[in-house]
Structures are given as C-alpha cells and as structure tokens.
Point group: C2
Chain length 203, copies 2
C-alpha cells in the first residue's frame, strides 16, 4: 500500500482557507486534518486533542529536543507546533494529512519532510481580500490595514510553494485540492512498489 | 493566461494506452493529441496531418538540423518524430498537449522540455499484460513472447517518469489522467503571473 500525501495548506487571513477545507471535507474529501500542539491555556469549550493538544512548556520543549515537533513558532510567549507522531501514523496507514499552518511553519516542513506538498491559497485579488476582511466588520480600519500588510508579506511565500489554489469559485478551489491529492498519490515516488511488482513476474 | 501542460504518455504494447486516451477524450478530457512526422510512405487511408505528417527524408533531416523536431527515432529505415511547431503553438494558447510516444522519445522530451510531465501507463500485472496480448489472437506465441520481453524492458523506464497510471479500471485511469492535468495546471511555475497580479495592487 502506498503512503498518504502530506500536504501543507497555507494562505493569508481572509483568503478563505477554512471555508475551502470545510467544503473539501463536506464533499467527501479524504484526509486527516492535523491538530496542533500549544502551550497556551485552553479557552472555554476547547478540547484537548480536538482543537489543540495542550502541553506544558516543559513537555513541549522536551519534544522539541527529541525532534518530535515537525515545525513550531512562538506567538505571544506561547509555543505552537505540529507533533510528528499522529501525522506519520496516518501517512504510514496510507491516509492523507493536511497541516493548516502559517508560511514559516510550511517552509520548516519543506526542510524536514521533503516529500511534503506545499499548497498556497490566494484570494482572487488584493481588492477582494480587502473586501473580505472589511466584510467581517469585527475589526476597525487600522486592524484591517495591518492584516492586509501582513497578508502581502505572507503572500510573498507563495512563490516557494508547490501549488497555487485561487479561491475565487469555492467549488473550483475544492476540485483543485482534490486533484492535487489524486495526482500526488500517483507520483512515481509513491508507486515504486507497484512498478516493482509488475516487473517481478518471471516469464 | 497560463501555458498549457505538455504531457508525454508512454506505456508498453498491451497496456491499453490507446483505450485510456480514447475514453479521456470521449469523457470531455481537454487536450491536443500531437501528430507525429514520418518519412515512411502513407498507407491506404492515412491522411497527411491526421495520422502523420508525411515528410521527405530531406525535409525531416533539415528540420532535425534546425531543432524543429522535439524527439525522434529511426525504425525500419524511416524517421519518426514530433515536430515542435504545432506543439508549442497550442501550449502558448493555453491548450494541453499529449505526446503518445515511446520511452526513448519520452526521455528525449525530458531533456529538451524540462517543463514536460511524463506519464507512464502500467498494466495491473505482468500476467494481465500477457492475457491482453494473447487475447488479441492476431499473433503467434513467439511474437507474444517477444512483445512481452520488449514490454518488460520498456517498463524499466517507468521509474524515470513523473507519474504512474495503472490501467486496471479504465475510469480510474482516465480520472487519474485528468487529475494530473488539473494539478499540473496550478503548479506554482504555471501561476507565477497570478501571484504577481495579486501582489501588484498598491494599497
């Protein structure tokens, strides 16, 4: 059986990453969405192993030193990262795994897991990104401006990713995501044993 | 507009390449099937520009020297090859192009067109390949044995291709072919201008 596909899924705030993933799963998309570990305290309603793995700082640092964290970042004094174990268990069972992480994490994954496939979600245009962020109406103009500037910086990383999904029509974006999984699954690297088997027969 | 995808499509005799392509086009697959050039004489019913471009030996050799032939081989004293012009015209218009060629040609294309995507079609097993070749009943056992030996040699090249399509269930093989086109189309190299455009906006 061939290994699953490890996919990094990144994109700026407002590009609709979450919506694309939701629709991917709702429409039968087959993958495991990785759960991050963090040292920040759980918020009301957050469950361990569902929203995050909640770890103590000591535990997180020990795992870091044992190379048990695939990528990590510090944010507001807390660690956030991807534990290796659950990801590789799934991959070895042939399941696809999606890491929804920021670009710095994505590029760490590229270093550590060369087989990973990096997918960047772009909004159809910068104007549209602004409209989406303004449409939320939960933030003032200054916050929106700051987020747009952050988005611009993050989007520079798109050039270093493998695939670009443009979230214009949601169905198209979801189809593209499925096509990436389908195509990566049949890359020669993932089908070497199949070639071996067909050739093994001794006439 | 992004360029089309250039796909090399190879596989041993009996793997069902032709059937996969036929079903690909019948089910709405969107690509131009490249027409080869040859110096052999047309057979009854063969049309110039449809089955082959029929060229004189002088014409073929002149095109070779002008780098107007993407890949070529000599077979029974005649040249066979892929003329560059029609392929690149299509690619530049954004159309996908399929070259149904042998592995030697496929590997020449890899050298000359690094952007090309190489797809190898495998039978589900060597036994099944034998059954398919025997099933044709147009050839004697000795011919079948020779073909099987050629097939085994050709299949060694599968390791050097990018994607492996296993022709077990025809619909699956066709879906895989479509997924390859869909995924290759959104590779970052093909969407650089899209990233440029989203980033160009000056807030």
């Amino acid at each position: 059986m061939s290994r699953g596909v490890l996919m990094v899924f990144s994109g700026p705030s407002g590009c609709g990453k979450g919506t694309v993933l939701k629709e991917f799963f709702a429409s039968g998309g087959d993958a495991f969405l990785s759960v991050s570990a963090t040292t920040r305290a759980p918020r009301p309603g957050e469950e361990d192993g569902v929203h995050y793995y909640f770890l103590s700082r000591e535990d997180f640092e020990q795992r870091l030193s044992q190379d048990e964290i695939l990528e990590h970042a510090c944010y507001c004094g807390n660690y956030y990262g991807t534990p290796r174990g659950p990801v590789y268990e799934r991959l070895e069972r042939g399941e696809n795994v999606i890491l929804e992480i920021e670009v710095q994490g994505g590029l760490q994954i590229r270093e550590k897991c060369p087989e990973a496939v990096l997918v960047f979600v772009l909004p159809p245009s910068f104007d549209e990104l602004r409209r989406r962020l303004l449409g939320r109406q939960t933030e003032d103009m200054e916050t929106v401006s700051r987020r747009l500037e952050t988005a611009r910086q993050e989007m520079q990383a798109a050039y270093d990713y493998d695939y670009i999904v443009v979230n214009d029509r949601l169905e198209d974006a979801v189809d593209e995501l499925k096509a990436i999984f389908a195509a990566e699954k049949i890359k020669t690297a993932n089908r070497k044993t199949m070639i071996d088997e067909v050739l093994r027969y001794d006439a």
